[in-house]
Symmetry: C2
Subunit: 474 residues, 2 copies
């Protein structure tokens, strides 16, 4: 394989360079002349479609309905909830002109859709009978960040779903926020084979306008943590600002209790970073658009046998997700390397000698080595293999994550742990002052709260809110 | 039913008012504080999802892959193809600021994505082996028009798919442009039950940057025509501007031949306008999110019988697309009217007396009258009924369209025909001068070309390009 085709950076030593080379060379993305705005090429968009299919089915089971709200939001509407606009104002992309005319009020491209959706919720909700209102949309959003963009992980435009719900009471809303987080966790673990830490964000790290935020956090091989997705309980903050009120059963006026929750294309970047190796992508079978590639090995000197080989290869590719690579202008070696780069879970080779022996040579992307399998058994063998690869990738990553969480009891220890590429765990008070001190002294941020504790805060010695994990983070 | 719930305008006499009342009262849309930007509520978005499912499956059969390109396009990139920017410049929404910073170059929100996609095509296409390249994306687009907006039919933001393809030769490209138009036609006719006129647009009405455009055209009951969707053959106009070139089999450099094609949420507005009646929406079953509504009629004086009625109604609603309406705080009459307004194809009522007789009372939305059907046969009866309604709605609209096309041989006749709410058909030269004259004298536009002719142009007396249809149009 030419250097140009393959990834030249080593994942362990140069993660960022490895990541960037991999996603470009595996044809997942293309850069454009707008920084932070990328093309999702078919290979990555098909993975996003698999995420959509998984989540959308789960949402619909809960009675969530899809809708579409405008991408353009008036400045006055965006300003309606104070802490929300404070959080988003620095990164809003503003439309000021339509054709040659200056607009009378500038318009934000949605950075998120609470404001435009809740203005409508306010019109629709009158009675307790209108609740719960459970809506979701699959859209693009624009956040004009000035931090260095990284495809999938941080960009100025990304794709996501945003769910927005209104409930008659706090209890129902809080229950739903957790149910959604659990669905997200299943998507990460069952589809993307990525283990995550599930819990509540700190006060400082919560969503602008939320009572509190729940999150999933993942760990990259370079020791950096990354927020995988969030589910926010908004309390009555927006319902009071937007007058989303209803008559309860007794006829009394109440404000609705709300949640919002989102899952983005960042999830693909997390999956790529967790599983890839020095040869490129390693895709869990359930997310892989091509699960099996079949490469017939032909020889121009034996045209008849070659035709038979190709014919058998073609026949195998009747199965969904099996791809035939009969490009005979590339050598088998070149083709093998390309499919390794692209992370296809299983490769089958068939040559004239295999044809004679009625076998197929099977290689799996996540392990070295090849084995010969009888043609007659190939379909069920590969099916089992795909399941093995899926669960194997998850288990390997899970062991890595579990062994990376280290209990600490001082800021010095925390610093040492996060600089060794691990995550620190400690009972913590969760205060904003304390979070700023941790950041200043160690460079780490709180990720989320893993559970309750009766211990005292490891920084202030005061009552702990719970046990938190900390890490250097994206 | 209260006046507030029902549609008060008559479709025949006040089409615009009827249309607007219907889509709002049937809860298909909500207005926002940005003119021309609407909310697609779950009832209409579910129909869009049905359109997406239909078209996406057809595209994938052709080998078209989905992708996603950024929504923001630099001004310099947008300017690259001269006639394209000339056509779109007046209606571009411009982003000038990110947060508090002014951008160094302003960015267009995509009005369509030729430019951003073809900049990437130019990087990806090197050899004839890279062709055909067949990509599609499902997105929002923004066109800042100053004409009066009408939900679905004309708005500043709408949803669509845009397919963009590159081929090794003109013949392949032209063939594909027609295949796509035929898929669009099937979507209109088989899914939306809307008959259309299929053909080539005139020079003046073609897409900005195309060699020629193909279109489907539909007819509203008010006698106005509406362009239903388009498929453009771009020739080499963009491939030359963006240097999308390849080495052909003999090693010679060639520019690619291209198409672009789009299908928008306008299709829902066309379907609504064609089928609705004075009670509101009339939905063809295949596009209806709720195909059958089951209304149990209960009496508080007979709680045990009522429970049995509701239990039977619930059992029926196990089927996909069957909806139970057991809201006993609304009278049966109110509920019937609401589902009529919302266009649900079939309504079933079950009361205590029906329970005794083991029958269900069946009403179809497209016709008056009720009939009693044995409970045991209800499922297969309704299935047949839904098919009858689907084909019946199409046939009724097809007869209306067919009888509305009138051959003319002078501008006076054309004017008379279009003002009587019909479409005029005539052999025509297709020139821009002649089109302007027709517009000036009659108020009508050319819709598309139905076929060849050996007759002379009805305006100029010169050689006709073909037989065209003309109409007053949206």
């Amino acid at each position: 394989m030419s250097k140009d085709l393959g990834v030249t950076a080593e994942k362990q030593d140069a993660f960022s360079e490895w990541y960037t080379q991999t996603i470009v060379k595996a044809e997942l993305i293309e850069y454009t002349d707008v920084s932070g705005c990328i093309v999702y090429r078919p290979a990555s968009f098909a993975m996003w479609e698999a995420v959509q299919a998984f989540l959308d089915a789960e949402f619909k089971k809960l009675g969530v309905q899809n809708a579409y709200f405008p991408s353009l939001i008036t400045e006055s509407l965006l300003n309606k909830e104070a802490s929300h606009i404070e959080g988003f104002a620095p990164e809003v992309a503003w439309v000021t002109h339509g054709g040659k005319s200056e607009l009378s009020e500038r318009l934000a491209i949605r950075p998120t859709s609470e404001t435009v959706m809740y203005a409508a919720f306010s019109k629709w909700i009158r009675s307790h009978r209108d609740l719960p209102l459970l809506l979701n949309q699959w859209t693009n959003v624009v956040r004009w960040e000035f931090k260095h963009p990284t495809p999938f992980l941080r960009g100025r435009e990304f794709l996501w779903q945003e769910g927005h719900t209104a409930h008659a009471n706090k209890e129902d809303a809080e229950k739903e926020a957790q149910i959604i987080l659990d669905i997200y966790k299943r998507c990460y673990e069952e589809l993307l084979a990525v283990p995550v830490l599930s819990g509540r964000k700190s006060e400082k790290e919560k969503f602008a306008g939320a009572d509190y935020s729940l999150s999933l956090e993942a760990l990259f091989p370079n020791g950096k943590a990354i927020q995988a997705c969030t589910s926010h309980h908004l309390g009555q903050n927006f319902s009071r600002a937007f007058d989303i009120s209803f008559q309860d059963v007794s006829g009394k006026k109440e404000f609705a209790w709300q949640n919002s929750w989102g899952f983005t294309t960042r999830s693909l970047g997390v999956m790529i970073g967790v599983h890839g190796d020095d040869k490129g992508l390693v895709l869990p079978p359930r997310i892989a658009p091509i699960k099996v590639v079949v490469v017939p090995i032909t020889f121009s000197k034996k045209p008849e046998v070659s035709a038979e080989v190709v014919s058998l290869a073609k026949k195998l590719c009747d199965e969904n997700g099996w791809h035939l690579d009969d490009r005979d202008h590339h050598s088998p070696g070149y083709r093998f390397a390309e499919w390794e780069l692209k992370g296809v879970p299983v490769r089958l080779e068939i040559g004239p000698r295999d044809l004679e022996k009625k076998v197929v040579v099977v290689s799996r992307r996540d392990q070295d080595g090849k084995e010969e399998i009888a043609v007659d058994n190939i379909s069920s063998h590969v099916e089992t293999l795909l399941e093995e690869i899926q669960s194997g990738l998850f288990l390997r990553a899970k062991q890595k994550l579990d062994s990376s969480v280290v209990d600490v009891s001082s800021l010095d220890q925390l610093k040492e742990v996060v600089f060794s590429g691990k995550l620190a765990r400690a009972p913590w008070c969760g205060s904003e002052e304390s979070e700023e001190e941790i950041k200043k002294v160690t460079g780490a941020k709180s990720l989320n709260m893993q559970g309750p504790t009766s211990d005292k805060c490891f920084v202030t010695g005061q009552k702990a809110q719970g046990v938190f994990v900390f890490g250097r983070s994206y």
